[in-house]
Subunit: 306 residues, 4 copies
Amino acid sequence: MEQFEKLDKIKVDALDEILGKKFPVLDDGFVRVIDYMGSDESIVQAARVSYGKGTKKISEDRGLIRYLLRNRHTTPFEMCEIKLHVRVPMDTWRQWIRHRTANVNEYSTRYSLAIDSSQRTKIDEWRMQSKDNKQGSEGFFPIEIGSKLSEREEELQNFAREIYNERLNLGVAREQARKDLPLSTYTEAYWKIDLHNLLNFLALRMDNHAQFEIRSYANVIGNEIVSRWVPIAWQAFQDYRMNSMELSALDIEVLKLVIQNENNKAIEKAIELKMIKNDEGKIKLNREGKEFEEKISRLGLKAPWI
Amino acid sequence: MEQFEKLDKIKVDALDEILGKKFPVLDDGFVRVIDYMGSDESIVQAARVSYGKGTKKISEDRGLIRYLLRNRHTTPFEMCEIKLHVRVPMDTWRQWIRHRTANVNEYSTRYSLAIDSSQRTKIDEWRMQSKDNKQGSEGFFPIEIGSKLSEREEELQNFAREIYNERLNLGVAREQARKDLPLSTYTEAYWKIDLHNLLNFLALRMDNHAQFEIRSYANVIGNEIVSRWVPIAWQAFQDYRMNSMELSALDIEVLKLVIQNENNKAIEKAIELKMIKNDEGKIKLNREGKEFEEKISRLGLKAPWI
Amino acid sequence: MEQFEKLDKIKVDALDEILGKKFPVLDDGFVRVIDYMGSDESIVQAARVSYGKGTKKISEDRGLIRYLLRNRHTTPFEMCEIKLHVRVPMDTWRQWIRHRTANVNEYSTRYSLAIDSSQRTKIDEWRMQSKDNKQGSEGFFPIEIGSKLSEREEELQNFAREIYNERLNLGVAREQARKDLPLSTYTEAYWKIDLHNLLNFLALRMDNHAQFEIRSYANVIGNEIVSRWVPIAWQAFQDYRMNSMELSALDIEVLKLVIQNENNKAIEKAIELKMIKNDEGKIKLNREGKEFEEKISRLGLKAPWI
Amino acid sequence: MEQFEKLDKIKVDALDEILGKKFPVLDDGFVRVIDYMGSDESIVQAARVSYGKGTKKISEDRGLIRYLLRNRHTTPFEMCEIKLHVRVPMDTWRQWIRHRTANVNEYSTRYSLAIDSSQRTKIDEWRMQSKDNKQGSEGFFPIEIGSKLSEREEELQNFAREIYNERLNLGVAREQARKDLPLSTYTEAYWKIDLHNLLNFLALRMDNHAQFEIRSYANVIGNEIVSRWVPIAWQAFQDYRMNSMELSALDIEVLKLVIQNENNKAIEKAIELKMIKNDEGKIKLNREGKEFEEKISRLGLKAPWI
């Protein structure tokens, strides 16, 4: 074979060190890295294809990665790929799998016995329904109530397992025997995804509106795995995505007046734009008004109607 | 507005007649069409874009659709789209959702109360585990056993619902209260997919290896809906996909010898290709050997080792 | 057939009126709507599946659509689908087709003769290379130069067509004869996409960094077609996407100080965050510094270093 | 960090040896591997997730991979990923990029100068239009004609390059200057795809109906790269995909009669199924009839009407 400029497979030492390590999540779940392709360097390499060989470096690597992420130039991030082995309650997996851009091989309960483990809730982990947010929780139950809830949970899970075993012992087909297993039953899967789509997943699932369970997985994937794998991209993701803030055209109009100390005009504008309502002299906030308040508080400002 | 050749929205009368109609599936599920785009005619129209206006019709419409399907020219079939409203047990939905090429809006049990219905198994519907196929079922239990199984199923489903209600009454967050609902609980969704990907879904899920429950949905979608929507494509799908047969390079080699009545050579070849094994003078079939037998029986032939 | 609540196919009159109408783009291109599925109402309908029947309307339809778009709840927008017939120079099509989430049937120059039309540049349409932006243009050439350029363009396009015809007359295969056609040659395609992905396409291609040619198509699709099809979603898209502004974590830190009139501290912070550089007493802006200036000017503010 | 069963990154020595090596294609194109993830072993590993740890090996690895490919269990093949660097004429790239399931970073002629190379046709490489197949070629021109064609090709390519340079020298924006480059101009890209989708690409593009140019690339990718990377999957792909044969429901009906030596009945059946036509006593073949002839000739049989 003739001479050629041989490439070495790209490796990331900090990730190689934890290859196979199970990071525990919830009471009996985990996430571990099975394999990966690429690194921060691969993002740069892919971006530079666009600029051609003769072109001067348009900036240092770090600057380039940050530029790409800030401006949502997503294709270079797709050049990195990671494969995880996860163990997740089916209830959480139902949310997880809604992200369609990954490759998946899930444990089969048609072929094999269901995993003999269900997610248990500790007595101090029972969450109260949020009043404000119909799809959220808020605060925890006192452990007196929690211990009762956990006891009943155990009863149900045990009973469900009893029935499952009864069916199997009678010779019911596995694919049918499983039909009444609780959603809390653990499943396992290989889950492979590119970095761009993984960051999208993390942006949604590390968000504090995400349900606690899937957020726990997302936090581990982000903080323990992605941070080791592509540290520069990870920092950029914090700065330009997780901790960024979007101002709508409406926000901008009102904020401009607030900055100019034109509070009355700001209020009028907010009413006109339906962010707030003047309800017989009393200001009522719509969802957008509340979001506006939260946003400008990050700029050290107060809404003019406060 | 200047003059132009106005198009009419493509409509399919046979489908319009059943728009909104719930086709029942299982004990409490259904499928209904909400909306659709395109028809057999749209497939032809899209294919003809490729040939340009000046070109003679390369064949009648029917012939063209059949040609496209036979030769896996898939893009014209992607030009048709359908939107279904389905009600499905979560266990079945877990399989369904593995098809990533659809658009989905599912009923939220974070936001709303879980649907108060679980799939119940009638006393004559309990299936026995298949001996041959680890992920299949085979035959039904006698109703004496079935009635016991159905009774226990009811106990479990009632208990699970009791616990769910207990939690909600205490004020547990909906997103957490649902965690131990049985997989048999019904969910609903809008599911939108193009015809090419729908046919892929049906080819897999109408197959007799598919689990009974999802197969029941697939049969309704195929036989009741797609057959009305795109009757020509549907017939082509039967002829070239559902009832076609694939011969592997190995099958062809052995079959050729069988056709020539060279039975001994055929057996030797099958051994060489590892479709069968000569186990001390006794022929043992590998999976491929069995598949070969089934295939050639469709041609009116018997395997040479029978 | 038993009684059922029949649905009518969703229609949008304002769009039906222009079905088939060719909106001209560039010198010989066009866009026209062939078919569509869904409307503003379908977005609402899909979102409401999530909330269940028993739930109160969480807001008026308009408010709901705006809420969904503002918070990037994208799946309900995927429930709408549109099919366009476009005529585009191949050079532009090369960019267009990079959006992978659409269904496509393109005119085949293997099967048919290439379309006998190339995009011509008028004498006042020749653009100068931007100094600041390596991948942009800036300003126009005077028509004396432009007319020379257009003349040479015509020579080349004519010669290329001559060679193409020569080859065909000799009997060269169409698939090979086309190999040296200029990128300016028009092609046609059916292009089908859901509303969510179409809005992503428009956000990128109506942006003023997009190349003029594809931007011209995007503007027509957005302003002439989407605005008629889903007027409420279109307005929301303007307010929350096209005219919104993203502040990074870095922007927020500096902006906060600017609002507090802490100009010196703001400059220090900007240096620390590498948005600007203090080059021997002279402030030099990095790309991020420039972006920051543009952003806060929309709030009526000036950068502290100006 | 506590103890854990450390994994090693999966490596394939045979592929590592050629990492970076440019395999030449056409006159100035190439394909080279930049990076990859997974191996034959990864396919097995992913499939086994489905069967659970406790389950006996259902077969040897080789048998399992072959089983998966034969039965179109595609997800385990998605667990392998490869990243190529390719140099391709834009005309070929236009076909290539129609496969939407890959990640792509292409050389930008907005940002950089177009690659100074166009695909040249040698004097013995000019292909004649096929008579039978409107989108194919058949046979080569004699070199007397070929040399004339190549000469004219050179003239055109030189003229196009001259105009391109003229524009750049005048300061025309790169994004506009490129508009009349010939489709034969080379472009480069990073192209990343999973093994399942790569095999789909190869099945279509190594097929002898694929255009010569893209087939040349596909052959190199298949025979030089995939064969080294996943040798077991590659062999299975030959046996069960490239060299397999699909018999339609119609084919089966007629073939059955042919095997039974019922030639007259076979002809009647073929007429009934519209595979052939009896045109006043003379048999005329439709496309399906021709396909049938080709298929059964692989079984050593002749059509009954021959």
